[in-house]
Symmetry: C2
Subunit: 124 residues, 2 copies
C-alpha cells in the first residue's frame, strides 16, 4: 500500500499539474486501468477518456485551488477539497469539488470520484 505521504503528494501533483498547464504530469499519476467518475453520477470514464477531459480542462485554462489540507485514510484512499475555475466562450465557471482517489500497490491512482453537483457551480 502506498504511504499516506505518497498519496497526499499525488493529489497535490494533480492540483499543480493543472496550474502548470501540464496534462502529461497529471496523467502520469493514473494507472493504465484507472476509472474516473467525475462528476459522481456521470458515466465512468476510462483513462483514455479522462485524458481527453483533462486536456480540454487545461485548454480552458483550468486553475485549481485547495480549500483545506488534503486528507488521507487508513487504507489506499486520499481526498481533497478544492475549487476549479476555467473560462469557456468568455464565461467563467467556478466549481466546488471534492475528489476522492484510490491508489494501487504501485502508488498510481486507479479510481477517482469527483463529488460536485449543479449547485456547486457558479457562473460569472
Amino acid at each position: 500500500m502506498p504511504t499516506q505521504a505518497h498519496m497526499k503528494a499525488a493529489l497535490q501533483a494533480y492540483i499543480d499539474g493543472f496550474n502548470a498547464d501540464d496534462p502529461d504530469a497529471i496523467m502520469a499519476l493514473f494507472a493504465d486501468n484507472a476509472v474516473i467518475e467525475d462528476p459522481v453520477g456521470s458515466p465512468l470514464k476510462s483513462r483514455a477518456e479522462f485524458d481527453a477531459f483533462i486536456r480540454q480542462g487545461v485548454k480552458f485554462g483550468a486553475r485549481l485551488a485547495l480549500a483545506a489540507p488534503i486528507r488521507g485514510s487508513h487504507a489506499n484512499h486520499a481526498a481533497m477539497v478544492f475549487t476549479v475555475t476555467f473560462v469557456q466562450n468568455g464565461v467563467r465557471y467556478t466549481t466546488n469539488s471534492t475528489d476522492v482517489m484510490a491508489f494501487d500497490a504501485t502508488g498510481r491512482i486507479v479510481r477517482m470520484d469527483g463529488f460536485w453537483g449543479p449547485s456547486d457551480v457558479t457562473v460569472s
Copy 2:
C-alpha cells in the same frame, strides 16, 4: 433521488447535531440499514455500532467545524470537509476529515465514508 439541497442540509445537520450534543438528531439522519466506514480502512460499522461511536464522540465533547462549503453530486452523494476536535483524558485531538455520504430514495444516509488517516490527527 433526494434533492441536492436535502442532502446538503443533512450533512449540515450532522455537523449541527454534534455541536448541539444531540446524538439522536445525528442518528435520525441514518437509514436502518446504513453502513459506515469511518475511518476508511477500518471495519464497516452497522447503524447500531455507529450509534455507540457517535454517543462516545458526543460524550467527549466533539465539535465539528466545516472547512469549505458542502459539495453535492449528480447522483445520491454529498461530501463535506471538516475538522473535529474532542478531548479524551485531558488530551485534545483535532482531526481533519472528509466525509462522503450516500442517500437512499427516502433521503436518509445509507453509507458514510470518513476519509482521514493518522497524519490528519494532531494532539495538543
